[in-house]
Symmetry: C2
Subunit: 515 residues, 2 copies
């Protein structure tokens, strides 16, 4: 167990670095890990070489390299020993294992071949429908929504002219209604995404849109595409223009590089554009597989997170991209991280006696500076930050105002915040005192092009996996979402008039019936 | 000081209610406060009548009624005694004090009259430009962006046909570029919002859009409107089609009901639509002013928050609207709450020895259920939740699938989550154990119409104000954002080639210059 590891005991005795005293320009120059087009700048974390060494000992003691290799090779990683569990491989990396250095054996090879078959289908499909549709609506929720949506927004600068993509996720009818308000259904392709073909929200919204289409005199069969498990109720050529497959070895929150993201991103960016995202993700997959521990970017980020979480005791992490294109990327990471690592038992079913996944939240900079940064600088709790920045914008057009470009202003703010948070400020006026020692790090890349976007996605997937390996939890199931579903069905029965079975639900429902 | 109050000492000795044992249907029926069209259902909070009584003692001991009255009457509330501070009234309530029961004296009366003058100007302006513009771009950041944006999205169901509104906030040039991609500048009105007329991001984006307009052969003077302080550099009839005024007594994060929200919401909803929002906000302002303590909805919400924060020790609050229209409302509340109450000194300048504002985060339900709820149900930290729900959707169209409507499915999920979080679940399989005792409450209203939206905005403004009153902090300044600005300007100087003054900044910049 994590709490009994030698390296953990060692780390427990170590003291956080006081950045108010020790944050220097030399530190900034030295505390950087570079590779695969990224710099991870971590001078503003409360670590020194002794702590870093102990964190790498923890990584070795946790056998992270072996576990990452096993995961990418297709071993059963999604399980709880001694108890009924999903018992599955975890092979989102196979979805993009379509380039050099392919996995050559077993499950991983098979999964990459299955993914390749879907890619070929997608390429042919996109060619076939070219020019027929101006809009695409993706209907899905959770992993079938957040990742593809975050990537679509992030890649909008590279979108084909004259196409638009939309998403309907919420069972709230206002969600579907507001999207349907702004499309011409005649020219709209609808992608329904559900692995089991039984997700309540998704099926409801599918029917909702289908009904509207029929009312408009259109045949849904000519407009609807399914992304689903082979043989699911959605896998039906009589009802869908095409079916693309997904599998149990790719979890929802890890599915953006499968056909769950593929159809919508291929439609928006063209097939080659989607391949660029896959290429970037694959490069990062290779980076974590081939690097030695000390060169591994997501691993270092994971370890710094563990230091902040388990040894300094921070409960949340703010992820702040200084990039408007990453507007919804944090919402994706929120799911990725919190659904993966928000667990209270370890892989043997024991209740853990240490903290696992933190709350992940955030909004793009510089916007956040004019919002919640007040609390980050001067609140009574400390919040570690993960910044993401790019040297260049996505669009070629920028403008010099007062002798600096907007991109330079953006980066000035990013670096200034990192420094201000670390060093703080003394002042005679207590309201102008900043206590500093607010740890942060910066992941810096050249430009948020499609390949970098894919790499960034994979970077965080692996950071999360490494933290799960170290905490010895199963990062790939989500039993915690089940109870709510069961109780929601009980309340739905009450709505249908079936009485007497659920007093708590009835008590809540009475508030709907009065005036 | 808060920590020395009699009621606080009393509360410290009280024990959280064990919801796993005590959560009953009777509790749900009894623990509700209703008024002004809202129910606040708080059976799933870890309180009992003894705790509630002590919390109301705390409210009395903190003189919240007196302070709320003083605020709405225009007393100087934004100050730190004994130190230089902003020394201002706090009169966002005056912006909507345009109906019955108007304040009759002093600053508050004056402020309401000033607001009325701007409303009249707005009404005439909207009439004058009627039909001339199809799109409006609001350029602003922080309070000039988040509140108006959240309200625009929330009110989209009531928008006039054939108009669209857009927002540019981030200094990231990709933000402006991506908005400019989708408007016809000839038919676009641009609203520039900055009280001082000196906000870096806003002025940069203004120039950015102006340049594009000039390139398109248009005269910015015919398209640009300013919302700014009287006499600011933006208050210039030679450069702007019109100027609307804002004042020091309305803070950015409290400004959505001033002209900061007025121009864009008036354009989108019509003048009467904006008035409806004001009417709702005013009703809630009156509710808090006129209710006795025990009937006051925002006060009860504030007190439950204080119980969770200061006595149960929770660091974050998830605000989860079961309404897709409130998609960005939590981002507004994040600013409102965290910038107001993320403070480490009290109103006399003393460093506090108790927790103030928590981290506020959240996404709409049911989406969140398929994302971060795993951690909320089974993670190692507990997260209190504030749900917001409505009996009806905004659009008339809904559809019965499997015998229930989408709205019923939405509400079933909301109530089911409240119950599941409170009661948890025992199971032989440790992965199916839910430890429960996750406190939550539900704010329930009839329908998110414009008036309810205004009331909801005001509800949270007052909840935040009450918590600030109880913590005895200044909820109305934001000194914590200053240091970052100063350092960003130093780095901008480095970009301009002025050397040697800021080694920390130079160290970061070196990573931009290499390849």
């Amino acid at each position: 167990m994590f709490s009994e590891m030698k390296s953990v005991k060692k780390l427990q005795k170590m003291k956080a670095v006081d950045l108010k005293r020790e944050f220097t320009d030399q530190r900034i120059r030295e505390m950087v890990l570079s590779g695969s087009g990224f710099h991870l700048l971590y001078a503003a974390e409360q670590v020194n070489s002794e702590i870093i060494n102990a964190l790498y000992e923890l990584a070795e003691e946790s056998q992270v390299a072996k576990k990452m290799k096993a995961m990418q090779e297709g071993e059963i990683m999604n399980k709880i020993d001694g108890f009924p569990s999903e018992n599955r491989s975890v092979l989102h990396t196979a979805m993009r294992d379509q380039f050099d250095h392919r996995q050559s054996r077993g499950e991983a090879k098979l999964a990459a071949e299955l993914a390749e078959r879907e890619l070929k289908k997608l390429e042919a499909f996109l060619e076939k429908i070219d020019g027929k549709f101006t809009d695409l609506i993706q209907i899905g929720i959770g992993g079938s929504d957040l990742g593809p949506r975050a990537l679509s927004i992030a890649a909008a600068a590279f979108q084909k002219p004259n196409v638009k993509v939309h998403f309907i996720s919420n069972v709230d009818p206002d969600d579907a209604n507001s999207v349907l308000k702004c499309v011409d259904l005649k020219k709209t392709l609808v992608v329904v995404v559900s692995k089991s073909g039984s997700t309540l929200e998704t099926l409801t919204n599918e029917e909702f849109v289908k009904e509207r289409m029929i009312q408009s005199g259109l045949n849904p069969k000519d407009h609807f595409v399914a992304v689903t498990g082979e043989g699911s109720p959605l896998d039906d050529p009589k009802k869908y223009l095409a079916s693309f497959y997904m599998w149990d070895f790719v979890g929802g929150r890890y599915s953006a590089t499968s056909m769950v993201g593929g159809v919508v991103l291929g439609f928006a960016l063209g097939y080659q554009g989607f391949l660029e995202i896959l290429r970037g993700a694959h490069e990062m997959d290779q980076h974590v597989l081939k690097s030695d521990l000390r060169s591994n970017l997501p691993l270092l980020s994971a370890l710094l997170g563990i230091w902040n979480r388990n040894f300094l005791g921070f409960e949340t992490v703010a992820i702040i991209p200084y990039s408007q294109a990453l507007l919804r990327f944090t919402a994706h990471l929120q799911q990725l991280d919190m659904e993966s690592n928000g667990k209270h038992i370890d892989k043997t079913g024991k209740v853990v006696n240490y903290s696992t996944g933190p709350v992940i939240w955030g909004e793009p900079g510089t916007n956040g500076q004019h919002s919640f940064y007040q609390l980050i600088h001067q609140g009574t709790d400390r919040i570690p930050l993960e910044f993401i920045g790019f040297k260049k914008g996505q669009y070629p057009h920028d403008l010099k105002i007062q002798n600096t470009t907007s991109q330079q202003k953006l980066l000035s703010n990013l670096f200034a915040q990192s420094i201000a948070l670390a060093t703080g400020q003394e002042n005679e006026n207590p309201n102008k005192v900043f206590t500093g020692n607010r740890p942060n790090r910066i992941l810096l890349a050249e430009c948020l092009d499609l390949q970098t976007l894919g790499a960034l996605l994979s970077f965080y997937e692996h950071k999360v996996a490494y933290q799960g390996f170290i905490w010895n939890i199963n990062s790939f199931d989500q039993e915690g979402v089940q109870l709510g579903k069961v109780l929601a069905n009980k309340i739905l029965s009450l709505f249908k008039g079936e009485k007497g079975s659920f007093p708590l639900g009835e008590a809540y429902l009475q508030f709907l019936n009065e005036d």
